[in-house]
């Protein structure tokens, strides 16, 4: 019990004294996961929308693959990204393994199918004739897609939340491709794992609480936007 109380105390001390290392780790986590989410939004929303709006042979298989991808295990992603970025791997020449860029890539790979799956469902859930209605108003295909994405903005906000939530809390891939290098690739989750294994429960708890608060605030902001937009 003492460990928990001491841990919470220590956590708040670290938080309120703005410990430079903790702040650095937090900022890096935000930057890495935020960038990965943005990348996943670009690819996920466009690919999800495209699959939702087109008919092609094997479409069902593609949709099943996207849905499976929503539950992609981070360690598997970590493994493959590591292999690709390994010195002798196909992308080894880029020399980005064990850099924040590598973590961004791995996290984007994890978040993209999540965003894609939710976007696909969101666009498919719009009324079937809405597409025809937009085209009948004289829209180009691009204008039509843009209007549809705007119409699906509320579920798309959920896609952002799910994507960001998935990667900010992910640890396996970040440790494998980032290497948890102090002051360089150490993020909240990898630091928590390391401090716990070292028995530094107070610091681990402080990091854990920061992670929770971060996830909470980001989601609170997005939820606020979503609920404000929602028709009453």
């Amino acid at each position: 019990m003492d460990i928990i109380v001491e841990g919470i105390k220590q956590a708040f001390i670290l938080l309120f004294t703005l410990d430079p290392e903790v702040i650095g780790i937090t900022w890096l986590s935000l930057k890495v996961s935020g960038t990965a989410t943005l990348i996943s939004l670009f690819f996920g929303v466009s690919a999800g929308t495209m699959v939702a709006l087109t008919q092609f042979p094997g479409r069902r298989i593609v949709v099943s693959l996207i849905n499976t991808g929503m539950g992609l295990p981070p360690v598997v992603v970590g493994l493959f990204v590591t292999i690709f970025l390994w010195r002798n791997g196909p992308l080894g020449f880029m020399e980005i393994l064990y850099t924040p860029t590598a973590i961004i890539i791995a996290q984007a790979v994890i978040a993209t199918p999540i965003v894609m799956g939710i976007s696909l469902a969101a666009i498919q859930n719009l009324p079937a004739n809405l597409r025809l209605q937009i085209l009948a108003l004289g829209a180009t295909r691009l204008q039509m897609v843009w209007i549809l994405v705007k119409e699906a903005r509320l579920p798309l906000l959920a896609a952002i939340m799910a994507g960001f939530g998935g990667v900010i809390s992910e640890v396996g891939a970040s440790i494998m491709v980032g290497g948890n290098i102090k002051g360089y690739t150490r993020v909240l989750t990898t630091a928590t794992v390391m401090e716990t294994s070292k028995g530094n429960f107070d610091i681990a708890m402080a990091l854990g609480i920061i992670l929770l608060l971060l996830a909470f605030f980001i989601n609170a902001i997005l939820t606020h936007v979503q609920q404000r937009e929602r028709p009453r």
């Binding site: 009324p127 004739n129 209605q133 085209l135 108003l137 004289g138 204008q143 209007i147 705007k150």
Partner: protein, 370 residues
């Protein structure tokens, strides 16, 4: 605008889906500034025809010609669509304000802001929804939403407007008021319109021309009075409200009239048919009158039959009465007339109808079986 000019033509238009044909139109010409109503039962191909004419549904064959330009060649589908507007059964409004919804088509065309404001305000007023401009489209009633949808379509000032059963999801009073407004806007703007409906009263009220559809084909097209009174076959007759459709054999030819034997009774009709020929007699319920007792002397009608009242069915403002005269006959009576005649099921009446009130379809002249 030239009212005699054909603005839109479809030639050999065919749409196939799942191996079957859903639309097969050999020719359709739409006159400029007129209202064409497509009527027919569910699944007759009305919506498919609207979608195919607006190039929103890919046709497997055929051509669409707008103002003498063939759509799809040098004149692209996109260019063609910019002259059209479409209103569906569901309002399909965007998740924004009423104003922004009505402005959508103009904004898509990058119209100047001043013009957008002017035109949107004009059409909001025309459709009586000016006071709702700032309201979220999600908070509208069914009627308000459909008004917004219509205003959005008219705001782009289309050359042709396609209306796919725009009133069918509305309650009767809302439908009535919206139909009145649409009617006056259509007459005022002289916008060429093609409207699908399964309600013949709606079609009668709004249209200059009616096309009756069944199984993807246009069975008959013409002015409403023509289609109502001179249906080309039994299907059209039953669809446009001809309650009594009888088949009989011509037994005698007189000067300008002929006698038909139907279930052992003889009916006199006007026209030409030869003895031995089979004909279909169509009698609209409003052309049948009933009275009590033997009334040969009080009517000039050639066809007078004693009959039995089989059923009296309340149908809104009037009663539908099914009679048995040896052959089935249907008439409509008002509540007042029903009370005057002390009408009840099982009573004897005299039914009469004029020889000129019968529309005759000569069976051997009909294409195909039947």
């Amino acid at each position: 605008m030239n009212p005699d000019k054909t603005i839109l033509e479809a030639k050999n238009l065919r749409v196939r889906r799942g191996g079957g044909s859903v639309l097969d139109i050999s020719y359709l010409g739409v006159p400029e500034g007129k209202v064409l109503c497509l009527i027919g039962p569910n699944g007759a191909g009305k919506s498919s025809l609207l979608l195919a004419l607006s190039c929103l549904l890919k046709s497997s064959q055929g051509e669409i010609i707008f103002r003498e330009k063939r759509v799809g060649s040098n004149y692209t589908v996109f260019d063609y669509r910019r002259n059209l507007a479409m209103v569906f059964q569901e309002p399909l409004l965007f998740d924004t304000t009423v104003f922004e919804n009505v402005a959508a088509g103009l904004k898509i065309r990058s119209a100047p802001q001043v013009e957008v404001k002017r035109v949107v305000e004009e059409y909001l007023e025309r459709f009586g929804i000016g006071h709702l401009a700032g309201r979220s489209a999600r908070k509208l009633s069914g009627g308000e939403a459909q008004r917004t949808s219509l205003a959005r379509a008219f705001a782009i000032r289309p050359e042709i407007i396609f209306l796919d059963e725009p009133f069918s999801s509305l309650d009767p009073p809302t439908r009535e008021s919206l139909m009145g407004d649409l009617e006056s806007i259509l007459r005022e703007t002289r916008t060429t319109s093609i409207m699908a409906t399964h309600d013949q009263m709606e079609a009668l009220r709004l249209s200059d021309q009616i096309a009756v559809m069944n199984e993807g084909k246009i069975i008959q097209i013409g002015p409403p009075v023509e289609v109502m009174n001179h249906p080309v076959d039994e299907f059209v007759a039953s669809f446009v409200g001809t309650e009594t459709i009888l088949t009989g054999e011509v037994i005698r030819r007189n000067a300008g009239t002929f006698s038909v034997s139907v279930a052992g009774r003889v009916i006199e009709a006007v026209g030409y048919a030869s003895p031995g020929e089979y004909v279909i007699l169509c009698i609209r319920p409003e052309n049948v009158t009933v009275s009590t007792g033997s009334s040969k002397d009080i009517t000039s009608a050639r066809n007078v039959f004693s009959c039995l009242v089989k059923r009296i069915i309340p149908s809104g403002a009037f009663y539908k009465v099914e009679l048995d005269c040896g052959f089935p006959l249907v008439t409509y009576v008002t509540n007042h007339a029903r009370e005057d005649l002390f009408m009840h099921e099982g009573m004897d009446l005299t039914a009469s109808f004029k020889a000129t009130a019968i529309h005759v379809i000569r069976k051997k002249l009909l294409p195909g079986p039947g």
